[in-house]
């Protein structure tokens, strides 16, 4: 299996995707903004379609769209992103825009399914380079601002009063989230980034209350899902996305079961 370039690329891409999703996912779950993550990935789809329409790279289109939405939400307040109405509004509007851009551009609709469902086995060496470079950038920013981001995510109220430059921290976090989504969606698709950013971290929090262990576990759950998914997809020829989501769902169910058993002790 690893004699093929595209499989090797996919396995390497899995490591970086899992690292950023593991850390960012832990913060996303702590902030309870899972659904905004979903909305952002739809905005990402729309941005990619816009990129194709303009003839620039889909990744750039995605970064432009998700970053500007993140900035908008950051300035108008996190609360807006949790409102049900704004979630449906943004999702609908941007999927509509995405379809418009795709139909206006002369490209075939296979592009659309690529953006939506991803193609981890379809990436080339240049995709891999940009993924690795952007992942390292994201991880570096997180490392520099780890304490601020952790305080801001895990104690929204406390940090609001006691953290210097807390609003800026929120905006930087949303920017990082936008970047994460743009980077990962070329691999697993914009609709399924949602899975890796929320389910592994949601599962991890049932296994441990320690921040670092949570990050470690959610990264492992992502990586396990991606790698096993790739392998199963290789031997069965079924879509890799199907396997990844199923594995993550199983992990989540097991974590709930574990939590239940712990509680009843």
């Amino acid at each position: 299996m690893l004699q093929f370039d595209f499989m090797r690329y996919a396995f390497i891409a899995g490591i970086f995707i899992s690292l950023i999703c593991g850390v960012m996912g832990t913060f996303v779950v702590a902030r309870q903004t899972s659904f905004f993550t979903h909305t952002l990935s739809e905005i990402g789809f729309s941005g990619a379609a816009f990129g194709i329409f303009l003839g620039i790279s889909p990744l750039l289109g995605m970064i432009i769209f998700t970053m500007s939405s993140a900035l908008f939400i950051g300035i108008s307040g996190d609360r807006l992103s949790r409102r049900e109405a704004s979630i449906s509004l943004f999702s609908g509007l941007f999927i509509g825009l995405g379809i418009l851009f795709l139909s206006l551009s002369s490209k075939q609709s296979s592009y659309a399914t690529n953006i939506l469902f991803g193609s981890i086995v379809g990436i080339n060496i240049n995709n891999l380079y940009s993924l690795v470079a952007l992942s390292i950038l994201i991880l570096l920013i997180i490392a520099l601002l780890f304490r601020q981001l952790a305080y801001n995510s895990f104690d929204v109220t406390g940090s609001q009063y006691n953290q210097h430059l807390n609003l800026l921290t929120s905006i930087i976090f949303l920017g990082l989230l936008a970047l994460t989504i743009s980077v990962t969606s070329q691999i697993i698709g914009s609709l399924l980034i949602f899975v890796l950013l929320t389910i592994p971290a949601s599962s991890a929090k049932y296994f441990t209350p320690s921040l670092w262990k949570m990050i470690f576990l959610s990264t492992s759950f992502s990586l396990g899902g991606v790698w096993i998914g790739l392998y199963l997809s290789y031997i069965t020829n079924w879509p890799v996305t199907f396997f990844i989501t199923t594995i993550e769902a199983i992990i989540y169910c097991l974590s709930l079961l574990y939590h239940r058993l712990q509680g009843n002790k």
Binding site: F154, D155, T157, Y161, N162, Y206, P209, S210
Partner: protein, 219 residues
């Protein structure tokens, strides 16, 4: 009497309402002052004004502590039953002596010291979401203490606690005054706690405030 906060001729308005006019008072340093007054009189608004004065540099408010050494413990926090973080990790969010990914040796020492002081040692590894009301308040207090504050502002920290837990928390807070040279501002409604633990009471009523000295107690 050394002041921690000096307020002169302060006016506070909220949309459609004048809350305070020509407010003049001082808050003595290294004492426990309770802020009291009817619901809606503007206790929390006053405190938020004090906090904002660091940024707005308003000439009416002088606080003899830096912003990072002033900690506000809000009345409500969004910590639900499923809040995942352990008590010790939650408390550690308040550590800002360095900005490294890991905690320095002195930060670890401070954290242990604060956890011990707030009597959270035995439950420090438990998820905060599963802690009782009193334990949560002690954890909030511990997080604030990680900043080594000079001024500590507590907003109705005892509101949801039973009598025994309330008294325990106040005894803890009073002991901080002695070993850490802290000034405490405590917003409360509870006359029993004020009688037993306060050095001063800042009573707020319509448009005005009055500082009242409470019973002498040993320091």
């Amino acid at each position: 009497m050394k002041p921690m906060i000096e307020v002169t001729d302060l006016n506070i308005q909220v949309p459609g309402k004048k809350l305070f006019e020509n407010l003049n008072f001082i808050i003595p340093a290294n004492n426990l002052t309770c802020i009291t007054g009817e619901n809606g009189v503007g206790k929390t608004t006053l405190v938020k004004h004090l906090l904002q004065s660091f940024k707005s540099k308003s000439p009416q408010i002088k606080i003899h502590a830096t912003r990072s050494r002033t900690q506000y413990v809000p009345q409500l926090r969004n910590i639900d039953d499923e809040f995942p973080l352990s008590i010790i990790d939650f408390v550690a969010l308040g550590l800002h002596q360095s900005n490294l990914l890991w905690h320095t040796r002195s930060e670890k020492k401070l954290l242990q010291d604060v956890i011990q002081k707030t009597n959270l040692m035995a439950i420090s590894k438990r998820p905060l979401g599963a802690a009782s009301g009193g334990e949560k308040q002690r954890a909030f207090l511990a997080q604030a203490l990680c900043a080594e504050p000079k001024l500590l502002i507590l907003d109705e920290s005892t509101a949801s606690l039973d009598t025994v837990t309330k008294n325990e928390l106040l005894i803890l807070i009073r002991s901080l005054l002695i070993d850490r040279d802290i000034t405490v501002l405590f917003i409360t409604h509870d006359p029993e706690l004020i009688e037993k633990y306060a050095d001063y009471e800042l009573h707020l009523s319509h448009l005005q405030a009055q500082l009242i000295k409470k019973g002498e107690r040993e320091k």
